[in-house]
């Protein structure tokens, strides 16, 4: 279940990046970069990384390079090659420290490496840039599941209500 969630988090990043590109780029795009992202979406990390590496080599501008490296960070993380994943995320953030998707990806890598303090720092930085990002919310949930796991429970109380009972729960 956790694996499926992880794939979904990374893949949504890839989808968002492509969607962003589709809105603004006219004419032919980087086909390998696009196909690599689609492979990552389906969980085929090996093929996704292979295509994205080709896409990176053919990148025509900084934006494509940033997208490729961010997706490579996700792809290598899915392949459990966390050192390589981190290096790509670090490269993206060295070029653009406002790219919240790379913070999100790197936070996931840190979670997998159980480097929770660094994961939280990246989540906070990402949230500061994009407070409403759904993927960051999912990453935060994964962080909390790893550091503060909880099990939901429901108490159904049919007993007469205590008069004036306060419902102030966190």
């Amino acid at each position: 279940m956790r694996c499926a969630s992880l794939v979904a988090c990374f893949c949504l990043l890839a989808t968002n990046v492509l969607a962003e590109d589709n809105r603004t780029v006219l004419g032919p795009t980087n086909i390998e970069l696009r196909d690599g992202a689609l492979k990552l979406q389906t969980g085929d990390a090996k093929e996704g990384v292979r295509l994205t590496l080709i896409g990176l080599s053919q990148a025509i501008d900084g934006r494509e390079r940033r997208t490729a490296k961010s997706n490579l960070c996700a792809g290598y993380a899915l392949l459990e090659d966390y050192a390589t994943a981190l290096s790509y995320c670090n490269e993206v953030l060295a070029d653009d420290d406002r790219y919240w998707r790379a913070y999100s990806n790197r936070a996931l890598v840190y979670i997998k490496l159980r480097r929770f303090d660094e994961a939280l720092q990246d989540i906070l930085k990402g949230e500061a840039i994009s407070p409403q990002a759904k993927t960051l919310k999912a990453v935060r949930k994964m962080y909390l599941d790893a550091t503060d796991p909880v099990a939901p429970s429901v108490i159904i109380d049919d007993r007469p209500d205590t008069e004036g009972e306060d419902f102030n729960v966190d």
Partner: protein, 140 residues
Amino acid sequence: MLTSSRWLLSTTLLMIALTATATAEDEADVTHLLDPAAERKPLQTVVPVYPSRALQDRVQGDVEVCFSVDREGRTSRVAVRKSSHRMFEKPAMLAVRASSYVALQEHEILSAIKTCRIFRFRLDPVAIEDPADPSVSGKP
């Protein structure tokens, strides 16, 4: 074509994520505290879903729902009387609407007094063993 396939893929992945969430919600522990003096006895009690957003944000809360129960044991006129967070209100109301009570016998009189039920949504800490930690390996 590509746009539609991308939409399909992301939808599929979202479905996977949502299925995982629903499964987690279904696994909520349930405690039902009955009122032995109550006139109406529950027949089928539906458990509300723990809202995924509340679970994600680690929010707990209480909701008191009051409602009428007809002769056949069906609930109606369901309304929230008190709640700590709005996000718990809808699942609580849905649960009450889907619940039922034992029908009255012919000679029994239907009370006009509303029935109330409190739902307490809680998050219990869970201990997870770290497989990398040798102190929890179980070996002597």
